[in-house]
């Protein structure tokens, strides 16, 4: 509870600091909107030209893209900075000071890594998901709302768990920052499109090893057929079912790395 209070207090301070230069903050958000709008237009152009991608039409494609983004931005609000800076702070010795703080090291690093533009981008991606649902045959209903909420929560847990697991590489491998960025940023982008376009081994990796496919592909696949069979309904709820163990695994790996950590000269 104390950790949460600290996190919220630090978030407020970080937000205040960032809003000090409001013009720059607004420009940043406008730039982000333009960036992701252009990427969405590119996606729409492809679907308009080729009809379907991996069996998915425009609405499903926008959902696949939007769900990947919204869950990544929510998880990244506190964890992306941890993933980027952990290895550097271990190497410089700054992590030793983190261990001396009265709150847990993960909470402290998360508070320090708060990125205010991420929630704004998440809101934009969420709007894209809502728009995609209005385009979809299934339309808006209480069941669809529950599906969307469960998928976003599950997807965020998956993305967060993966970010935490990859960040923990820093405890074992020196100079791993770029490797972590490659694993998080590069691999995540492969599920901007349905995994059905990839060969079976790649699909297997994205389902079992790094379960990004449960962030968007399987839930969207299940959405259309959820009223048809129990199997499809299970797929629709798969993000949450996979998200919980994924977050637990990421957290376990972090604790394992933390136990292994030895301060320089210690």
């Amino acid at each position: 509870m104390g950790g949460l209070r600290f996190l919220l207090a630090q978030t407020g301070l970080a937000l205040q600091a960032r809003m000090h230069d409001r013009f720059n903050f607004v420009i940043e958000q406008v730039s982000n909107v333009v960036f992701y709008l252009c990427a969405t237009v590119a996606l729409a152009i492809i679907v308009m030209r080729f009809g379907r991608i991996g069996g998915f039409g425009l609405a499903e494609m926008m959902l696949v893209y939007g769900l990947n983004l919204v869950s990544y931005f929510i998880a990244g609000t506190y964890l992306w900075g941890v993933a980027r800076t952990l290895e550097g702070s271990i190497r410089s010795g700054a992590f030793d000071l983190v261990l001396l703080k009265p709150v847990g090291p993960l909470v402290f690093l998360m508070a320090r890594s708060f990125e205010p533009s991420m929630p704004v981008k998440a809101a934009g991606a969420f709007a894209l998901c809502l728009y995609a649902l209005t385009l979809h045959d299934i339309g808006a209903s209480p069941a669809t709302s529950i599906w969307l909420l469960a998928t976003i929560v599950g997807g965020t847990l998956i993305q967060g768990g993966i970010m935490l697991a990859f960040s923990s590489i820093g405890f074992w491998v020196s100079g791993s920052r770029d490797l972590v960025e490659l694993l998080i940023y590069g691999v995540r982008r492969t599920v901007d499109v349905p995994i059905s376009i990839y060969p079976a081994p790649v699909q297997l990796v994205l389902t079992v090893v790094v379960p990004y496919a449960f962030v968007n592909y399987y839930p969207v696949l299940g959405l259309a057929g959820s009223t048809e069979s129990a199997g499809m309904a299970a797929l629709a709820a798969s993000a949450l079912a996979v998200g919980l163990p994924c977050a637990a695994a990421g957290s376990a790996l972090w604790r394992l790395g933390l136990r292994r950590y030895r301060a320089a000269g210690g």
Binding site: D21, N24, I27, E28, V30, S31, N32, V34, F35, Y36, L37, C38, A39, V41, A42, I45, I46, M48, R49, F50, I53, G54, G175, D178, L179, L182, G186, V187, R189, T190, V193, I197, Y198, P199, V202
Partner: protein, 265 residues
């Protein structure tokens, strides 16, 4: 000229200093290019697709995707980060005092990083995936024309980036504006989707903007989808945009330098 070459050599050596970073960069390119090739292969199928009354084979599409991924940094405006970083660290104040001058220092660094990035990161991915999936290589005349367009495109992108970045001397931080430019450039240059697949109104917009000279122009030339008349037109439009951008970049430099404050100076 000798000092420029020396600068290029120093910057290239600095970029190559961390070999592990170069390997990771190559892996990143391989991953991105591989994913893109699989996406486009699933879209066009083994028989290819028709464009503007012509035909784009599967090998053409693979080649386009591999080359577009290799040249991706053209749409990323890395010069914006370079200059903003130097301004934030106060390094810009030292740079302006060094003999080659700030613009030359930055240009040499960007060119070296672009070339080193192409050779160490993009080329391995291109060779590996090209060998496995097929790669179209045109005659030497088209290779030369495409390479010249890439060099011109790099200059164009760097000038656009320079104009955004140098305003940091007045505004302190202009990195955020870069994202909007990255998005627009990626879309209208053909980096994300080849312009042949665009609906007519969007394609007209893309061709009116300079960004199509970064990807669409050199890759059309490479794939033999642009005739020599069109190639001449590409060079003429490129020359026109450079003639517009060079004075703008010079004016932006003078405007920003006038406001430069060196603390303790």
């Amino acid at each position: 000229m000798r000092s420029l070459l020396a600068l290029l050599r120093i910057e290239a050596a600095a970029s190559l200093a961390d070999r592990r970073l170069a390997v990771l960069g190559a892996m990143h390119k391989l991953l991105l290019a591989g994913a893109q090739v699989l996406l486009w292969s699933s879209l066009v199928g083994p028989e290819g697709t028709t464009i503007d009354g012509g035909h784009l084979s599967h090998a053409d599409v693979v080649t386009y995707v591999l080359l577009a991924t290799a040249l991706a940094s053209l749409a990323e405006f890395p010069v914006v980060d370079t200059i903003n970083d130097r301004v934030a660290r106060g390094q810009a104040a030292v740079d302006v005092l060094r003999p080659p001058g700030f613009p030359m220092l930055v240009l040499a660094g960007e060119l070296a990083r672009f070339v080193v990035g192409l050779v160490t990161q993009a080329l391995p991915a291109l060779v590996v995936l090209g060998a496995v999936l097929g790669f179209v290589t045109p005659g030497p005349d088209r290779v030369a024309a495409a390479l010249l367009l890439v060099v011109g495109g790099w200059l164009l992108a760097t000038l656009v980036g320079w104009c955004i970045a140098i305003a940091a001397l007045r505004l302190l931080d202009t990195t955020q504006v870069k994202y909007a430019f990255q998005g627009v450039t990626a879309l209208f240059s053909g980096a994300l989707v080849p312009l042949w697949f665009f609906p007519e109104p969007l394609r007209a917009i893309a061709e009116a903007l300079p960004f199509h000279l970064l990807f669409h122009a050199p890759l059309s030339v490479w794939l033999g989808l642009a005739g020599w008349a069109e190639i001449v037109r590409f060079f003429a439009v490129l020359a026109l945009w450079l003639c517009v951008l060079v004075p703008v970049a010079v004016a932006a430099w003078h405007w920003s330098r006038a406001e430069m404050v060196v603390h303790g100076g």
